[in-house]
């Protein structure tokens, strides 16, 4: 066999590539397409939880959502929450990555310690922080009260929101840190040296060389962090505040749970899931287009 022929037709048999793709396709079909189709279907019906009676409702579930001030509030709250989580975790992890990149002694130890929070399940992260900041039993919570701060996130919605943002952002810092660090280490040393010889100080080098070269990483992380804040923070919120007090930490994904699982409103929560699905598809779309077209080295 000549190299040319093998490059042209790596698979002689047309069935083989299909067979190789099949497991992945099946997984996507069973775990994504099937539930998605079901969600879309259920969002068009008003149904009792057991599925004994079902009434076609058209878009009534969707119009009811947007007429519901509580849903609109949850929507705006989610935007604020994800912007805050993404902003805090991205800026802190960039700072940590820049610092870790400069460390010479014990760099591995720092990196390992910074990566550890990623191994913690969101619910556990929530519980851990709750024990630290609880007004009665938490060491930090008691310190706040001793300092004269009226610390009670069980009733103060802003404090509750601050707490879940902090816990959610903390957990994501490790993930962002790895990507930023890898990005920093892939910047050619020669560029930095050349700039230094030309008289650029560390701040100028960061602004004019490092930051632009990191922008694809930063943009990728921004999308990943928004998706994380929108969808994967359920565990933190469930463990720390259960969406309270007075819904002040109820973001969209929590509302799907509280309406669907606690409230047994199948149609309404399916409609909410469909909206969330549209959001994540839009985010992914933006990411692919933007990363591929606009961000270059």
């Amino acid at each position: 066999m000549t190299p040319a022929s093998s490059a042209k037709a790596p698979f002689q048999n047309k069935l083989l590539p299909l067979m190789l793709l099949l497991p992945q396709l099946l997984i996507t079909l069973v775990f994504f397409y099937w539930p998605s189709v079901q969600a879309v279907q259920q969002s068009l019906y008003i149904e009792d939880p057991f599925g004994l009676s079902s009434e076609f409702a058209g878009l009534a579930n969707f119009t009811a959502l947007f007429k519901d001030a509580r849903y609109v509030d949850a929507f705006l709250r989610s935007l604020f929450f994800s912007a805050a989580v993404a902003g805090i975790s991205l800026s802190l992890s960039l700072l940590l990555a820049v610092c870790a990149d400069r460390v010479v002694r014990g760099a591995t130890a720092y990196k390992t310690l910074l990566l550890l929070p990623y191994a913690i399940a969101p619910a556990l992260a929530g519980i851990t922080w709750m024990f630290v900041v609880h007004p009665s039993i938490g060491i930090v919570g008691r310190a706040f009260i001793a300092m004269g701060i009226e610390w009670n996130y069980l009733l103060n919605g802003n404090q509750a929101m601050g707490l879940v943002i902090f816990a959610a952002a903390w957990k994501q810092i490790s993930y962002n840190f790895i990507f930023f660090l890898a990005g920093l280490q892939s910047i050619p040393q020669s560029l930095m040296e050349a700039a230094a010889i030309d008289g650029a100080g560390p701040a100028k080098r960061f602004r004019d060389i490092v930051f632009p070269l990191l922008s694809p990483t930063a943009f990728f992380l921004l999308v990943v962090n928004i998706v994380y804040a929108f969808f994967e923070t359920f565990g933190v919120i469930h463990a720390v505040t259960s969406g309270g007090p007075s819904k002040s930490t109820e973001i969209l994904v929590y509302k799907v749970y509280s309406d669907g699982v606690v409230g047994l409103d199948i149609g309404g929560s399916a409609a909410q899931s469909v909206i969330l699905m549209v959001i994540v598809i839009a985010l992914t779309f933006v990411q692919f287009r933007y990363v591929e077209r606009k961000v270059h080295y």
Partner: protein
């Protein structure tokens, strides 16, 4: 050769019927710790007592809401268990699912098993029966809301530790004295909607909703934005400004405030006693829930919490026969007596209560009788049989959203209760719409 095969297959048939595998009955539950051990004991004893049926108990979740969801999802997928444990607030949802559940009175009658609703405590029978007295589910674990106080803190504040506050004004006075003595917190309450609203209304014989608290039909509306409830929450709200009353969360979280000694009084489930006996480093006592003496008819009787066993629909006749036999086993006096004494739950049958009383158990275990006396205080009225509203777990959350807003000073208590009634009624209409079949 052919006859050999025939003989072989005949032999197989014979041996299969001789060693017929017992009919398996699946039971899903949410019991942990000592209660889980008790479930397994009951099942082992039943399985050892006969060979036709085998009950398999499976722990599914610590959370009743999740267990109910798993049951519903399993029903939709055609894999529901025969028996599932559903919390009391899920009763309206379960009973509205005609066909998806098999009412217990019907199950027992069809299987020819003896079943007398009158053998259970009236507060329990009432909660789980239709308006015409037919029992829908099998009582298993029951509790009610009672009052606990820290005797040591009472003594330090100059109060008589042997005298529990009987009325709310007395409890508030005690809380103020305790706070004035320098103690961080006088009073707290767990399960706010259950203890301070549902039980509070029953205990004062005032309606929580129309149509006998929902027992008379799904076209019911909430009535808890009445002056008595509003006055009670306004007082709590005033008292929390200086820590005399402390809000500690929606469900069990405030229990920690009492166990740690921070709050000197708490209203919570009778099931809390076990935890308290293991973990409290102070002397405490139980008492009946306080009441307002100026409300006519108070104290009436409290209502129950906990869970019952529901039988799912669409199973085979011989499986139902096994479920019925298992329920008969479960109703036996010795099984019931052990259930009550080994777990933190109430006796569910009158006989088990009488037997336990006779044995001197309550003298040796002070506090265990308080919830029963309170449940039996008077014969239940239409306001104190229980609450039967669809989507009640969700409605409790909607109520707490408003109560928290009031406690945070964002809205008045009256506004909070009016909002909660309006939001709750909206859920009731949604339930009525899907449950009308």
């Amino acid at each position: 050769m052919r006859s050999f095969i025939a003989a072989l297959s005949l032999g197989t048939v014979l041996s299969v019927s001789a060693l017929a595998a017992p009919v398996e009955i699946q039971w899903w539950h949410a019991m942990t710790g000592a209660n889980n051990d008790r479930v397994n004991q009951i099942v082992e004893a039943f399985n050892a007592s006969q060979a036709d049926y085998k009950v398999v108990a499976t722990f599914k979740s610590t959370d009743y809401t999740e267990l109910m969801n798993q049951t519903i999802a399993a029903y939709r997928a055609g894999t529901a268990p025969h028996i599932t444990q559903i919390f009391e607030v899920g009763t309206a949802t379960m009973m509205s699912a005609k066909g998806a559940v098999k009412p217990v009175f019907e199950l027992m009658a069809e299987a020819g098993e003896k079943f007398d609703p009158k053998s259970f405590l009236p507060a329990i029978t009432g909660y789980y029966s239709t308006a015409d007295g037919k029992m829908l589910s099998m009582p298993f674990n029951s509790s009610t809301a009672i009052f606990y106080y820290n005797k040591d803190v009472f003594a330090k504040a100059g109060l008589d530790p042997e005298k529990a506050p009987k009325t709310w004004p007395e409890a508030f006075d005690a809380a103020k004295k305790i706070r004035a003595s320098g103690h961080p917190c006088g009073l707290t309450t767990a399960w706010v909607t259950w203890t301070q609203m549902e039980n509070f209304s029953a205990w004062h014989n005032i309606p929580y909703g129309t149509k006998s608290n929902g027992f008379g039909g799904f076209d019911t509306e909430f009535k808890f934005n009445n002056p008595t409830v509003i006055k009670h929450f306004e007082t709590l709200n005033d008292l929390q400004k200086d820590g005399t009353f402390k809000y500690g969360g929606r469900t069990t979280q405030p229990e920690g405030l009492f166990v740690s000694g921070e709050c000197a009084m708490i209203a919570t489930s009778s099931g809390f006693l076990g935890n308290l006996m293991r973990n409290a480093k102070f002397n405490f006592a139980t008492a009946m829930l306080p009441y307002y003496p100026d409300v006519a008819g108070a104290p009436q009787n409290s209502i129950i919490g906990g869970a019952t066993l529901w039988v799912m629909g669409g199973k085979k006749a011989d499986e139902y026969k096994g479920v019925a036999k298992f329920f008969t086993h479960l109703s036996k006096l010795d099984v019931q007596v052990t259930n009550h004494q080994q777990t933190g739950f109430l006796p569910v049958t009158i006989a088990a209560y009488e037997e336990t009383k006779k044995s001197g158990f309550y003298e040796k275990n002070p506090g265990r009788e308080t919830p029963i006396l309170q449940l039996q205080n008077k014969a239940p009225t239409e306001n104190s049989m229980g609450v039967r509203f669809g989507n009640l777990p969700k409605i409790r959350d909607l109520i707490m959203d408003e109560v928290e807003a009031a406690f945070a000073g964002k809205i008045s208590v009256k506004q909070a209760m009016d909002n909660a009634v309006a939001n709750g009624n909206e859920e009731l209409r949604r339930f009525e719409r899907t449950a009308k079949n």
